[in-house]
Symmetry: C3
Subunit: 175 residues, 3 copies
């Protein structure tokens, strides 16, 4: 009997880990549809309340917690992330036609925390075709909350040939 | 004993749900290879017999069930989907060099039905490079059949800046 | 009791298969970050020691096991794969800004072997945007080793409109 109980306990642990992996896939694959449809609240709710989204050149957090708009900027709270989605810069991008696509991530789970590494691409409508405006190296740091997995910090760094995005990609892969 | 039986029953349910998620990943990741290799029958077999593939501007189903060819069109049966793959429009695209790429989907499972939201990209050979010809918002509606998951309806709507593709992306994400 | 044992045994088999699927996702999603960050050893360690990476036009293995550099070439060992990553051709690409993105694969598991089919894209920095330099049909052949899944052979064939990449895509999808 105890043998079966051990096997069931181990199975429960393995299934929980698989569910964590899939839940993080689900969270990351919802980012694009939420931000491209312009749902500011639902996008922001992917993060914890004081979560950080640094989309390049953001530097240190702003004491006032305001979003820094533009191609390089950052948001340092759910409220600031929602402001970014509502802001004129992002609104223009999605009203011209845009797709924020998150590729299959590599995920390292450690109990109630996780790190994912993925590529993001921002395609923008350009006449009869689309241009690839940004290809980013992404590091996502997650924490398990009572409501499920949430983003604590996402860093998105354009692959411009410099060391920073290359180091960011490497940082999330073990071995 | 009943405690262990309960735990095993719960595990069976959780594992079935994970398998559903993976089976839908498998179905969606087979679409591109099948349509780019030109296998009309195998592509059509991803759908149920009266399944719908609306790739933009399709409007209402045709009473005659014929495929509407071109950049905007639709097919309203397995047979019409196979006709689309065999048709001169699609054949030209794949003989010039093309990749129909389906991104990591967000999936909402509800028993024997499921909805997936994903981005599609159609890359076409263009000299020494490829151009991104289409970036689409996609909603896939699935039904579990005796032979496994099948597509009941897929809507692919170019991200042209209008409200329709943005609403389509939002429709498949809960919360 | 034996009924419960049977159910637990079946669950163990199903969970192992799901873990295999996820481990292969993890391996494939680590390729891009490793090769774009320039980690030659870690990239090569994804393959078995005599593993093959054929990135187009490679033809038959070289008796001397040396990498054939350039847009079309091949490497026929871990050592040669590491040499490719360290070589001037690849180093120039990543220092100009590049993303090697592997899409969601379709995977066919057969015990200790597996075949995956996926699209690769190589995005290269081009002024304020990126160009899509390569879109490849990919076939990955894996083997389970004592240290986990490893690549025995990867074939990456540009979707140039010819029959070869179309056949390659079709070869890895059952049905």
């Amino acid at each position: 009997m105890s043998d079966i109980e051990d096997r069931v306990r181990r199975l429960e642990g393995r299934v929980t880990e698989l569910e964590d992996q899939v839940q993080l896939y689900q969270l990351m694959s919802s980012y694009g549809p939420l931000v491209d449809s312009g749902d500011a609240e639902a996008t922001a709710a992917l993060w914890v309340e004081d979560g950080i989204y640094d989309w390049g050149g953001g530097g240190t957090p702003e004491p006032d917690g305001k979003v820094k708009e533009g191609a390089a900027g950052a948001a340092f709270s759910q409220e600031a992330i929602a402001d970014m989605v509502r802001g004129p810069y992002h609104q223009q991008i999605i009203h011209e036609g845009a797709g924020h696509v998150i590729g299959l991530p590599h995920i390292v789970l450690k109990g109630d925390e996780a790190v994912a590494t993925s590529y993001s691409r921002l395609y923008r409508r350009d006449g009869e075709n689309f241009r690839v405006w940004r290809v980013g190296a992404n590091r996502w740091e997650f924490v398990r909350s009572p409501q499920g997995w949430r983003v604590r910090r996402r860093i998105n760094c354009v692959l411009n040939g410099s060391q920073e995005p290359r180091d960011l990609l490497r940082s999330g892969i073990e071995g």
